[in-house]
């Protein structure tokens, strides 16, 4: 199958600093592809180059069969973009926002009016068709922004942090909408900070850091290949002493982050048994998830830039 996005040797250098430093990746038709990474990892810059919004310093980009940035406008005709910050037009109503955006694609009024009911239904904003943007909640604005990106019936939809800043209910609703898009055969690319989001939605994810892709694979593959099955998080007085004395032989790997000792193991039973004998320590046992893979690969220290 011909990939829908193909990126080879992509680099972006600002001054002396390579923000994106040799990225190769392919996105297959119909999949949901997640681009993950801490702040400053280069994922937004990678995405912007892919969308033809920033010229690359070096590398080859092909999106939807078009060379980028040479054929950006042609490519955009078949692409939907959901930006990180909602840039809806505050002077227009919900319907007017969709209509004006459709105008940017050269979609005629009659054709737009045919598509409008489906777009409103997708965004679940049928009752808000004539509402002003300022009267919408954060979740509604997001849904409208996603519906706006669908106005040209795109083959590929790219979403930059689609649920950042939304409450859990709104997030769940967005996820259901995105799954609906996938069911209809669209290809999705998204960036996110929420590992749960990536684990639930994405067929494959790429984890980036310092301008490079560290690993690519399905969430299940990444968890299998890069992390032990079980995690026991331990905290409380004397956690370090307990770690040295008891966890060392029972966990495959331990890591102290702040006041919490993370113990990674294929079998948690010996750890839990030992913890029962140290009632002053509190613990949480859970299955390892994508976030553990992410933290293992990109480190646990805080990124402020």
């Amino acid at each position: 199958m011909h990939p829908i996005v193909s990126v080879r040797g992509l680099r972006k250098v600002y001054g002396e600093r390579a923000v994106v430093d040799g990225v190769d990746l392919q996105v297959r038709p119909g999949e949901c592809f997640g681009l993950l990474g801490p702040n400053g990892a280069g994922k937004t810059t990678t995405l912007r180059m892919m969308l033809g919004l920033t010229p690359p310093t070096a590398g080859e980009l092909e999106v939807l069969g078009f060379a980028v940035p040479a054929q950006v406008q042609k490519m955009h005709e078949r692409l939907g973009i959901v930006p990180q910050a909602d840039n809806l037009d505050p002077d227009f109503t919900v319907t007017e926002n969709l209509r004006v955006y459709a105008g940017y694609f050269g979609i005629k009024k009659r054709e737009f009016l045919q598509r409008l009911p489906a777009l409103l239904e997708f965004a679940q904003l049928e009752h808000k068709a004539d509402a002003t943007i300022s009267s919408l909640s954060g979740g509604m604005k997001r849904r409208l922004t996603i519906a706006r990106a669908l106005v040209n019936a795109p083959d590929l939809v790219v979403l930059d942090e689609p649920t950042t800043g939304l409450d859990p209910q709104a997030r769940q609703l967005i996820w259901r909408r995105l799954r609906l898009l996938l069911a209809r055969g669209r290809t999705l690319i998204l960036t996110t900070h929420y590992m749960e989001e990536a684990e639930r939605l994405c067929d494959r994810v790429a984890i980036m850091d310092v301008g490079r892709i560290l690993v690519v694979g399905s969430p299940a593959e990444l968890m299998r290949d890069h992390i032990e099955r079980e995690v026991v998080e331990v905290y409380g007085p004397g956690v370090e002493d307990w770690g040295r004395a008891h966890a060392a032989g029972k966990a495959a790997r331990t890591e102290l982050v702040g006041e919490t000792l993370f113990c990674y193991a294929e079998d948690e039973a010996p750890l839990v048994a030992s913890l029962r004998e140290h009632p002053q320590l509190r613990f949480l046992h859970r299955r390892a998830n994508l976030e553990d893979v992410f933290l293992k690969l990109t480190g646990k220290e805080l990124r402020d830039d």
């Binding site: 930006p83 809806l88 940017y104």
Partner: protein
């Protein structure tokens, strides 16, 4: 890609979608916009034209208010287009990210810049027409030849819109526009033969005024409104076109450097 920044503007038909978006917003906010952009020139015309005119008497063989009317039509075009491409365009470029939304669609910066300039020209045309209409009602317009002022208002609007967009593209914030108003717009307003004929000022000021697009606009519009013979039209038109084309190109270069990093 830095070299790509210098490319000559190559707008497509989609520039009209940018123009149409701005028309739609204008229609929604028409009332305050008309009061602001059309009320002020009217006040100038009435207060200065009749008030000051009573003391001045005849200028260049015509009533002062007749002399002034042509200048106010041109000034109205300049101010309208300048405000539009400074404050409003800046808002669309930064705060509202309207341009970012357009760039996500199949629009290029060439389309956006050309659409914005064309819209500034259109808005100038609307406001200048209103002033012209009032001037006609007041009996300050000689004959039908004054209709030629309308395409000129469009040209003036595009010209000043493009110049303002150059400033917008460099601007770190709204306050920056004051430099442009104080250093460019206001001196041009005062030295382009709007309020008084330039025949009375020193030669070097007259020479300098030849560089001001507004002066050339006034030179074209005044004879058309007062029924006099148009002189040197080709030169005046060339200057206005020159400013428009050059400023459009420079603003596009600057906008590309600002947004396509």
């Amino acid at each position: 890609m830095t070299s790509g920044c210098w490319q000559w503007p190559r707008p497509s038909q989609r520039a009209l979608a940018v123009w149409r978006r701005n028309v739609l917003v204008w229609r929604k906010l028409m009332a305050p916009s008309l009061v602001g952009n059309f009320g002020e020139p009217l006040l100038y015309l009435l207060a200065l034209g009749y008030g000051l005119g009573g003391f001045v008497g005849q200028v260049d063989g015509m009533d002062y208010v007749v002399f002034l009317a042509a200048g106010i039509v041109c000034t109205s075009a300049m101010n309208t287009a300048s405000y539009e491409c400074l404050y409003s365009a800046y808002t669309r470029m930064t705060v509202q990210e309207t341009w970012a939304a357009m760039l996500s669609a199949p629009l290029s910066l060439d389309d956006i810049v050309c659409g914005e300039i064309l819209w500034a020209g259109t808005k100038a045309l609307i406001n200048s027409s209103a002033v012209l209409l009032v001037a006609t009602a007041l009996g300050l317009v000689a004959d039908w030849q004054a209709l030629w002022v309308l395409p000129l208002a469009l040209l003036l609007g595009c010209c000043f819109g493009a110049m303002a967009l150059v400033v917008t593209a460099m601007s770190p914030g709204y306050d920056f526009f004051l430099y442009y108003f104080t250093l460019v717009v206001t001196p041009m307003f005062l030295l382009s033969g709007v309020f008084f004929p330039l025949t009375g000022v020193p030669d070097w000021v007259q020479m300098g005024a030849q560089l001001l697009p507004l002066a050339h606009g006034v030179e074209l519009v005044r004879p058309l409104m007062t029924g006099q013979v148009l002189d040197g039209a080709l030169l005046h038109l060339s200057v206005l076109f020159g400013y428009m084309v050059l400023a459009s190109w420079v603003s596009l270069i600057l906008v590309r450097r600002r947004l396509l990093r």
